[in-house]
């Protein structure tokens, strides 16, 4: 479980988090939605200690991490895998070495164990036989999957996705969104997805948290969001209506997956 209690964060004059409170429970898929600049990515960065709060506290698995040292955060970062918006692969490393990189950095594994974990992680995201390829030889979708394999290889219990579908076409968006759902359930991890895409959230989220001006504005399940009259939520729902697509829950469409 991850809990934010009255977290404040400012950059100079600019207050980004202004008393943020929320919790994410074990094995949930939670979407953090909001317009640009409302602190969604800043929230994710606080979880892995890339940013520290000015005040308030953050707990992960009932431990207060607010005062953690850099060394303490090494453990948190092993527990919380971060998937960047763009694949951010190392161009000069093969697919295998990209996925092995984090495992080697943790420095506790034998080479044979690394081999096994890399292969397992790549297979988990549906990639086989591309170990020796380089990022430029892969499609965008494949690069995205390699980056996710790299994140899951150390066995995190939390997956943090920073705008995984922003800027993608609708087909790739749906493919990535579906992958997030299947992978989260398969691994039994807790996923936090920072996004602008209400359609994606309505398809796979267990809970949707809407941030506005650095605070929690709305927190609800999909049904509650559909009937919510909060202006920002309505504005996001309007976007779904404009797309004209009939949103179906992934788990209802695919009951056995």
């Amino acid at each position: 479980m991850i809990t934010f209690r009255d977290v404040h964060k400012a950059f100079g004059e600019k207050k980004v988090l202004a008393g943020l409170n929320f919790s994410v429970h074990s094995e949930e898929i939670v979407f953090l939605l909001g317009t640009s600049g409302t602190g969604k990515s800043v929230t994710l960065k606080h979880i892995v200690g890339l940013l520290r709060p000015d005040s308030g506290n953050i707990q992960i698995d009932n431990e207060d991490i607010t005062g953690y040292s850099e060394e303490d955060f090494a453990l948190i970062r092993k527990k919380c895998g971060y998937v960047f918006q763009h694949p951010a692969l190392f161009d000069s490393l093969s697919v295998f070495e990209n996925v092995a990189f984090g495992l080697r950095a943790h420095g506790e594994l034998q080479e044979s164990q690394i081999q096994d974990k890399v292969t397992q992680s790549l297979e988990l995201v549906g990639l086989r036989g591309i170990n020796e390829k380089y990022p430029h030889e892969l499609s965008y979708g494949e690069q995205k999957r390699v980056s996710i394999a790299r994140t899951i290889a150390p066995g995190p219990s939390y997956l943090l996705f920073d705008e995984p579908t922003t800027g993608l076409d609708p087909i790739t968006t749906n493919a990535v969104n579906t992958l997030i759902f299947k992978l989260s359930r398969k691994l039994g991890v807790t996923s936090i997805v920072v996004s602008h895409d209400m359609g994606c959230a309505l398809k796979i989220a267990d809970r949707i948290i809407v941030l506005e001006a650095g605070r929690l504005a709305v927190d609800g399940n999909v049904n509650e969001i559909w009937s919510c009259s909060q202006p920002l939520v309505k504005s996001f729902l309007e976007e779904v209506r404009l797309s004209g697509v009939d949103i179906k829950r992934f788990d209802e469409e695919n009951p056995h997956s």
Binding site: G126, Y140, D169, I171, T172, T173, A175, H196
Partner: protein
């Protein structure tokens, strides 16, 4: 309505990557035509072809009846046509070392030497005001947000009072609220001048909001869909796959298996 832009039997490819084959398109004066298509299908390339930034292998692009790639056309005549075109680039392509105001005076200096510097400045400030970023004209592009950079790109494209707007994914990467604002702003400015717009996007909501007519890039050609309403009710499998984001269909299998 008269045809303003006419693309006839266009052929274009990058080495090993064919993009267009016998592609044709007509856009009428005052019309907003939205082109959808998956990443890598050639949308930006088509925008560059229309703007005369790259040359087709074959085929013609006529703007106001002038064949922009015809080597026999005098350069001055071609130049006069391109003066009427304003382009917004996907990645903004702003001048990093110029402040907001200077980003808009610069193209005027290049293209409209007859305008006085005082007039250019006045025009630049009024455009910044118009797109809602007029209160900090001396900031630099990297000091403003992504949405503001888009607004600056739009203001710059309008500096020469274009009759034709070529907009390459003008809302890419923006949140839906900002995207909708920017799209509204573009439509407002387009309507004021009865300008003709060619808009590229992969966002179906934007196509609905902006398009008089919508097309989809498929099989190296433009599939004309019709109005946004026709797009939503279309039974064409490619249109359905794109609009609904279906993982299987004419665009291929996008399924990402988890095993």
């Amino acid at each position: 309505m008269e045809t303003l832009i006419e693309v006839k039997n266009l052929e274009f490819s990058y080495p090993g990557l064919p993009l267009f084959k016998e592609t044709s398109l007509e856009i009428k004066k005052g019309e907003v035509f939205v082109l959808l298509g998956p990443s890598g299908s050639g949308k930006t390339t088509l925008a560059k072809l229309l703007a005369g930034l790259i040359q087709p292998k074959q085929g013609t692009v006529l703007i106001e009846g002038l064949d922009i790639f015809d080597p026999k056309v005098p350069p001055l005549k071609r130049e006069n046509v391109f003066k009427k075109v304003g382009m917004v680039f996907q990645k903004n392509a702003l001048f990093d070392s110029l402040n907001l105001l200077e980003n808009i005076t610069f193209p005027q200096k290049e293209r409209l030497p007859e305008r006085s510097q005082a007039e250019r400045l006045k025009r630049a400030q009024s455009l910044l005001d118009r797109v809602g970023i007029g209160s900090f004209p001396t900031l630099f592009p990297d000091e403003i947000s992504g949405g503001m950079q888009k607004r600056l790109g739009i203001a710059r494209a309008l500096a020469l009072d274009p009759e034709i707007l070529i907009l390459d994914d003008p809302t890419a990467g923006l949140d839906p609220v900002t995207s909708r604002d920017i799209a509204d702003l573009i439509l407002e400015l387009q309507k004021e001048k009865n300008a003709t717009a060619f808009v590229i996007t992969n966002d179906v909501s934007r196509a609905t909001q902006m398009g008089d007519r919508v097309g989809l890039l498929k099989d190296e050609s433009i599939l004309l869909i019709g109005s946004p309403e026709e797009m939503k009710s279309s039974q064409n499998p490619a249109v359905k796959q794109f609009v609904e984001g279906l993982l299987n269909g004419p665009f291929g299998d996008y399924q990402m298996e988890v095993s």
